[in-house]
């Protein structure tokens, strides 16, 4: 144990901030800290005061109650302090909580406090805990200083020097070392750190780190297998779920990724970024009900969070607009009303952001049209058109959403013109072109999208099984829903050519092929299906010549 004079000295030099909404607790905390030898102690009541204080003052040790009553909680304070760089890495943030279960408190993985203090806290315990942490802070200060300066190579060599000398902080040093190599992109050294630990013992943090390296190395299958096993043995390890969902996403297994995130959000519902992930994956799966629920929670968790964003409100409005267009649903009107409400609160909350009004009106326009309020929708459309005509360089994301509205209100021609111009302006942006093509292919609501996708899948299965007639029927039915879908049109052409080759007596399939290819006339050269389109056109020409 350290000697008491050293203790008092260590406490004396540091600055403290106590955040608690109960005056009694603040005062008793100050008393305890003073008894330990601390002198520079600031007491504040809520998050706003805490953040303001940290903006103008350097704090070494923050003692923050998790539950601060109405408004921001301790996790929000931590996130904001770290996000705005108001707290150095070398400072300590201690979360004081009444819960023994960290699950309640746990937020996103990127923001962890340096320690938890579980109430009841007595003086001896706080003193002991702080001494341990201050010793640790002191021992690790040179490393943390380099990390604060983003001088990672120096931080790594300090970690390596400290490891053999410092068994007390071995876990911290190894975790930090793995993380630093990973940040530097030195994956082989990062892997070695984790492997060495795992060789000695199966530790979940090392398994997680190892999986992260595997993912970065694009060894998806191996990473996914590792993470599944980790979750099997540690069903309450939230970080593993997040990383597994990441891996499955990269493998293209989106519905499985969605299931994993759903499990994780049930267990730990308060992490905003996890809800957002779930919303995005569900959206990609066209599971709009789940997406809307997850966006709702993302928006509501954002109320006091540094991660709050107009994009979440907009995405919720867009999901609800999709749901409101579903004519079979009894809740169509409710969804429309909620969509308009969310958009209105977005405009109010983010009034200082210049494009918020425009983005809101684009969605409002199609919601109103879908509810049969054609006159209101038309008035909005006129103002939107004027805005787009006078400003041709509007953000492509906004233009894309405007094109969607144009499709929904029946102005297909205008929508296609807009998308055509957009594709020309951004001909070298693959990701954007992909989204333009997707909208061109499927300018319909999510239920029709799902229907067309299922039919297409059936068609491909039938084709692979050699049942050409069933394949042709399925693709034809799909095209009744999405008549301009490039690859489905080409699929049908391919099947019809095979049917003709098998039985050249009827030339009917060839006529149908011609009609399908005519639809795709003017397919731009940069389109992903362009080569296939040319090849099939030439083949047809050969057969009809």
């Amino acid at each position: 144990m350290s000697e008491s004079s050293y203790r008092g000295d260590a406490f004396h030099k540091l600055t403290y901030l106590v955040i608690d909404d109960f005056e009694n607790f603040r005062l008793s905390m100050r008393q305890v800290l003073r008894a330990c030898g601390a002198d520079q102690i600031e007491l504040v009541r809520n998050a706003e005061q805490a953040i303001k204080y940290c903006t103008y003052n350097h704090v070494d040790v923050v003692l923050c109650d998790y539950n601060l009553g109405e408004g921001k909680n301790g996790q929000h304070v931590l996130e904001e302090l770290r996000h705005k760089n108001l707290l150095r890495r070398s400072s300590l943030f201690l979360m004081v909580t009444a819960e023994t279960s960290k699950q309640m408190v746990m937020g996103a993985r990127e923001h962890q406090p340096d320690g938890y203090l579980t109430k009841p806290i007595n003086r001896a315990l706080l003193e002991q805990r702080l001494i341990t942490l201050i010793d640790q802070r002191k021992a690790l200060l040179p490393i943390n200083r380099e990390i604060d300066r983003e001088n990672y190579p120096e931080a790594i060599s300090l970690c390596l020097q400290a490891l053999p000398r410092n068994p007390r902080h071995k876990t911290w040093l190894l975790k930090t070392l793995g993380d630093l190599y990973f940040r530097l992109g030195d994956l082989s050294h990062a892997a070695k750190v984790f492997d060495d630990v795992l060789q000695q013992r199966e530790l979940s943090w090392a398994r997680l780190g190892r999986s992260q390296v595997l993912l970065a190395n694009r060894s998806h299958d191996q990473a996914v297998a590792n993470l599944k096993q980790l979750i099997d043995t540690h069903p309450d390890y939230m970080e593993a779920y997040d990383l597994l969902a990441d891996g499955l996403r990269q493998q293209g297994k989106l519905s499985e990724a969605q299931r994993v995130l759903e499990q994780a959000t049930v267990q730990s519902p308060n992490a905003l970024l996890r809800q957002k992930q779930l919303a995005e994956v569900a959206e990609a799966n066209q599971d709009i009900d789940t997406a809307a629920d997850a966006w709702r929670r993302t928006v509501s968790l954002g109320t006091y969070s540094i991660h709050d964003s107009a994009d979440h409100y907009l995405a919720l409005g867009q999901s609800l607009s999709e749901l409101s267009e579903d004519q079979d649903s009894a809740q169509s009107v409710e969804h429309a009303t909620e969509a308009l409400e969310i958009l209105a609160s977005m405009e109010k909350r983010f009034a200082d952001q210049p494009t918020v009004g425009l983005r809101s009106r684009i969605v409002q326009c199609r919601v109103l049209f879908g509810q049969g309020q054609h006159r209101e929708a038309e008035a909005l459309q006129n103002s939107l058109k004027a805005e787009f005509d006078s400003n041709p360089l509007i953000d492509p994301d906004i233009s894309l959403d405007y094109a969607k509205t144009l499709f929904r209100i029946g102005s297909d021609g205008d929508a296609k013109d807009l998308l055509g111009r957009l594709a020309e302006q951004h001909s070298d942006e693959a990701e954007l072109l992909k989204r333009i093509e997707a909208l061109m292919d499927e300018p319909v609501g999510f239920r029709q999208k799902l229907k067309a996708r299922n039919l297409t899948r059936d068609g491909i299965k039938a084709f692979e099984a050699g049942d050409l007639a069933a394949a042709a029927a399925a693709f034809t039915e799909a095209l009744a829903v999405v008549p301009n879908h490039t690859s489905v049109n080409l699929n049908l052409v391919q099947v019809l050519l095979k049917i003709y080759e098998a039985d050249p007596t009827s030339r009917e399939p060839l006529e149908e092929c011609q009609a399908r290819l005519d639809r795709l006339q003017g397919l731009p050269q940069q389109h992903r299906q362009h080569r296939r389109y040319i090849a099939l056109s030439q083949k047809l020409k050969g057969l009809t010549a």
């Binding site: 144990m1 608690d20 909404d21 109960f22 009694n24 607790f25 008793s28 008393q31 109650d65 539950n67 009444a98 819960e99 023994t100 279960s101 960290k102 309640m104 579980t118 109430k119 009841p120 806290i121 007595n122 003086r123 001896a124 315990l125 003193e127 002991q128 805990r129 341990t132 068994p167 007390r168 071995k170 876990t171 013992r201 199966e202 530790l203 979940s204 943090w205 043995t233 540690h234 069903p235 309450d236 390890y237 267990q267």
Partner: protein
């Protein structure tokens, strides 16, 4: 400071099938937080009134029993999560002297009040375990030792036969014959008809079993003797 959201009853009005264990768990959670507040106030009272309360049997009983209830509730929640298969051991490497010192510190006010001397014997060693789970076990065991010891308790950590052994010893009468055993306790072995259900030992045994390394698995042992001549509780971790 307690979260009002936690007290909300999560059963649905239209759903008459009451999930009793869930209602229980959420109530226990609430009670535990209340007791936490109570314990905090007791600590503050003791600090404010200095030596007046030290040696006051009634005040010590108040604090001891509140502590005991708090520990029971923590265990109850742990066992609930165990049943839900949501409890797993997050094993990390910890430095034993720090860990044990922190534990003694948690009990400092009551030790002082009861006039019991606490000894910590841990070499300069590290060990692999889930600190939160072990905290639950040790709190309960130390609290128990406080009840039965005369003047001393001893907290030990050492490596034995490839296991990390954490021990809590007291200088009391020791465990009755029927309770001494080694190995694991099953839920069935709990006797709810006698006053002592050994729920604490069941929890300790379950936590020990969550600690596995290859083929080896943790266990608990109870016997009498040790350096202080009273009861000895040991948890063996691989």
């Amino acid at each position: 400071m307690t979260d009002p959201k936690n007290t909300s009853n999560r059963t649905n009005d239209s759903d008459q099938n009451i999930d009793f264990s869930m209602v229980l768990a959420s109530t226990v959670h609430d009670m535990k937080n209340s007791l936490g507040m109570l314990l905090n106030s007791l600590d503050e009272l003791r600090t404010e009134h200095g030596s007046t309360f030290d040696g006051s049997p009634r005040f010590n009983t108040l604090q001891y029993e509140a502590e005991r209830m708090h520990n029971d509730l923590v265990q109850l929640l742990g066992i609930y999560r165990l049943g839900e298969k949501r409890l797993s051991a997050h094993i990390e490497e910890h430095y034993l002297p720090d860990f044990l010192n922190e534990h003694m510190a948690r009990h400092a006010p009551l030790l002082q009040g009861l006039g019991i001397e606490a000894l910590i014997e841990a070499g300069d060693i590290t060990g692999f375990y889930d600190a939160d789970l072990l905290t639950g076990v040790l709190n309960n065991t130390i609290n128990n030792a406080l009840r039965y010891s005369r003047s001393k308790i001893r907290l030990t950590a050492e490596l034995r036969d490839g296991y990390l052994v954490l021990g809590v010893e007291d200088d009391g009468e020791g465990y009755p014959e029927s309770m001494q055993h080694s190995g694991t306790l099953s839920f069935k072995s709990l006797d709810f008809n006698t006053g002592s259900t050994s729920l604490g030992l069941f929890f300790a045994s379950s936590v020990a079993q969550l600690h596995r390394e290859g083929e080896r698995c943790g266990s608990i042992r109870l016997h009498n003797g040790g350096q202080l001549g009273g009861g000895v509780f040991e948890i063996w971790l691989p």
